[in-house]
């Protein structure tokens, strides 16, 4: 899945860059309208799922490489997975809130 999400993220990064650019400079209405358009909603949701999953998998590899003791290794991998699950849920919920308002 590291590879699958990596390939998915190559085109989807375009939507992240566009969304971030709008969020930092454009008026509220413009960003909200952009995100509410169906193609953009789908792509941002897909980006969120792929990116947070890719991040959790990547950090897991880093932890496995540098944390030698079994206990701390397993606990930190669980913590990372749970943290990214919660962050992804928070991001997805934000998207649904914006879409339901607009």
């Amino acid at each position: 899945m590291q590879r699958v999400t990596a390939v998915a993220l190559i085109p989807l990064s375009f939507w992240l860059i566009y969304f971030l650019g709008l969020s930092l400079t454009a008026p509220y209405q413009q960003t909200a309208v952009w995100l509410t358009s169906p193609v953009n909603t789908v792509c941002i949701v897909a980006w969120i799922i792929a990116a947070f999953y890719h991040a959790a998998l990547g950090l897991q590899v880093v932890i496995e490489d540098y944390v030698a003791a079994e206990g701390p290794k397993i606990i930190s991998i669980w913590a990372v997975n749970l943290a990214f699950l919660f962050l992804a849920i928070a991001a997805l919920l934000a998207v649904f809130r914006i879409v339901s308002i607009g």
Binding site: S23, L24, A51, A55, A91, A94
Partner: protein
């Protein structure tokens, strides 16, 4: 599983001058970790948008501080670097281009491409300065 504490400890990274490919390899990992931290910032930005016009404006004011601008440009360059070297890994996965001269040539292409992409975003102008 028992851990064998009596293993050889080499290579000592401190006494080696890493080749360009080695520097890029560890940078790939470091940019990955940095991008991971950037995801928290993303959650903040999109939640501020979900919170309505007031929290959105407050977020923009915060992000216009030079420290955050630096973080955002660092995030964008890290993203493109990680993307370019990620593509390199996908090419390696196909089992090709492991020759030394190809390795060094690709390393230069990656660096140039990630810089060029960052400059493109700058020229695009949506991020301000």
């Amino acid at each position: 599983m028992a851990i064998n504490t009596n293993r050889p400890t080499s290579p000592h990274l401190q006494v080696y001058k890493l080749p360009l490919t080695g520097i890029i390899s560890i940078t790939h990992r470091m940019t990955g970790i940095m991008l991971t931290a950037g995801l928290i910032l993303f959650v903040y930005v999109i939640s501020a948008l979900a919170g309505g016009a007031d929290s959105y404006t407050a977020m923009q004011a915060l992000m216009s501080l030079w420290l955050f601008k630096l973080v955002i440009w660092g995030f964008i360059y890290a993203l493109f670097f990680h993307l370019c070297h990620g593509v390199r890994h996908l090419i390696w996965d196909s089992g090709s281009s492991f020759e030394l001269d190809t390795l060094n040539r690709y390393a230069m292409i990656e660096l140039a491409a990630s810089l060029a992409l960052t400059l493109m975003i700058f020229a695009w102008g949506y991020y301000g300065l």
